[in-house]
Amino acid sequence: MFTKQSIITYIIAFLFILALNFFLPRMMPGDPIMAIYGNEALIAMTPELKAHLIERFALDQPLWQQFGAYLLALVQGDLGYSYYYNAPVSSIVLGRLPWTLLLVGTALIISTLLGIVLGIESGWRRGSRRDKSLLTGLMTVSGFPDFFLGILLLIGFGVTWGIFPLSGAITPYAGLSGAALVLDVLHHLFLPLTALTLCHIGASYLLTRNTMVSVLKNPYILMAKSKGLPDRAVRYKHAGRNALLPVVTRTGIQLGRLVTGAIFVEIVFAYPGLGYLTYEALLARDYPVLQGVLLIVAVSVLIANFLVDLSYSKLDPRIRYAH
């Protein structure tokens, strides 16, 4: 069974991430409180706080009870407390999440759509000049590391020409509202979005193009053509639609790559999403935030993958019969 198999897969993946989050700080040499809470906690440390933390994590209990306490806290939505920000990790993450969702979501939609359209056009006339230049161009662009592409855009459009802002997601203290606010957000979004999108068109483009090539050999394409249907109808309705399926299955994997790509792009543009938060946490050795962010990101990628898996078997009935 397809879905049963993939459920087991996701459970293993989820347990691995949980175990990594749990064991890594506790296996470090030295004081586990230090490893769990980072440097900032030491400054705030009082005997009462220490006693509280030991109790909270059941650090004086055997390992399996500690794991139980860890799971219990997670189930209650408690990701820990950051002494660097003086706030619960969950609220810090929630505050940053919308920016990453905006960036990654838009990049996913634009890069997938563009990739599909360009892939269909390219695969339709394989070997033509248009196909060759598209292929070379997109392969070149997707060979660039996302952070370097971001840096190039930043230096060109931000530093040298000053068309777009250098960092952040909104103009601070501008008190904008309504349409001006939306424009301001888009203005800040443009460069990181372009960097992320350009780096990720390649994958869906190449996949669509390659699938087009094999789809075009099917008899129904010949049939459609011999019926005298216009080129465009054959290209999009008959060939293009059938070339979509593999792209859909890859969306989950693409999403994982986009999210990790966003980490780097956000750092270049100091875009205040989860990626930049990761970077700040790394610099400050703020382990609770680091753990919280990475747990949330990893689990969301897993969930997205799982949903894609499910929808795929709905989209293509052959998948259900094949297993």
Binding site: A13, F144, P145
Partner: protein
């Protein structure tokens, strides 16, 4: 398989560019340090020097020669790229072929683990582990290899499964050949093209990840790397220094990745019969 990958590669400009570029990088990485008069870590009192005869690419914020850092960076990238890819493809081959031939429960368990690791975003795991362990180069290589064999194992298993059904293999088996003999004598030789491709994509992935981690500032600070150079230079991008400090490592990194992609893409086209050149309708 009646494919001639050598011929395919010779016919493709992209692949020839890739091979030429990689050879050039190898030469630079091996012999470059002999020609350069500066050590990448030795500091001079002259910070932020623009390019000159003494320092072709100028100096950075603590007066280190940028060209020598660039050359030593090529060493790091290639060393990490090749050793990670080699380790990973060996792991993939062992696990993929053994799962295909042994089958049964072992196969099921191994494939579930492989699938689980494929859906986990590797870079996140690496950031988390690296933040705690502060890995040196060896640990980094092992870490990247441990997270990089799963995709290859899946492809190799699939290929080995179809090879297993071929006539000459069941003939050998009926003569009493053991699994190990079958793997080394019959299956591995037929897997060579796939192994090469897995290796090449492994190199790309590892070069990319090493640069990314160094860019995040969590790689070993004593090792010069392109990612680290960019990490340091980005803080000064409002000065003119980006022209000779930030762009060269970025271009070098992009060219390396592009070169590897070129070889991989052509090989992939050569190995996948559906993508091979034929008349378009």
């Amino acid at each position: 398989m009646h494919i001639n990958p050598k011929q395919e590669i010779r016919r493709s400009k992209f692949a020839m560019f890739g091979i030429g570029m990689l050879l050039l990088l190898l030469i630079i990485a091996i012999f470059g340090p002999l020609l350069i008069p500066y050590q990448p870590h030795s500091q001079t009192p002259f910070a932020f020097e623009p390019p000159s005869f003494n320092h072709w690419l100028g100096t950075n914020h603590v007066g280190q020669d940028i060209l020598s850092q660039l050359i030593y960076g090529a060493r790091t990238s290639l060393l990490v790229g090749f050793s990670v890819a080699l380790l990973a493809i060996i792991l993939s081959a062992i696990i993929g072929t053994s799962a295909a031939l042994a089958g049964g429960l072992y196969d099921k368990i191994v494939m579930r683990i492989v699938d689980a690791f494929i859906v986990i975003p590797a870079i996140i795991v690496i950031i988390l582990v690296a933040a705690y362990l502060k890995p040196n180069l060896l640990v980094l290589i092992l870490l990247l290899a441990l997270l990089g064999w799963q995709d290859g194992a899946r492809t190799i298993r699939a290929q080995a499964l179809s090879l297993k059904e071929l006539g000459h293999i069941s003939a050998a088996r009926s003569f009493g050949a053991s699994n190990l003999y079958l793997i080394f004598r019959h299956i591995l030789p037929d897997l060579v093209p796939i192994l090469v491709m897995g290796f090449i994509y492994g190199v790309r992935r590892a070069v990319f990840m090493e640069a990314g981690l160094a860019f995040l500032g969590i790689a070993d600070p004593t090792i010069v790397s392109w990612g680290m150079m960019m990490h340091e230079a980005l803080d000064f991008c409002y000065l003119d220094v980006w022209r000779w400090w930030l762009i060269p490592p970025g271009v070098a990194l992009s060219l390396t990745i592009l070169a590897v992609t070129g070889i991989g893409h052509t090989l992939e086209g050569a190995l996948d019969p559906r993508l091979r050149r034929e008349a378009n309708a």
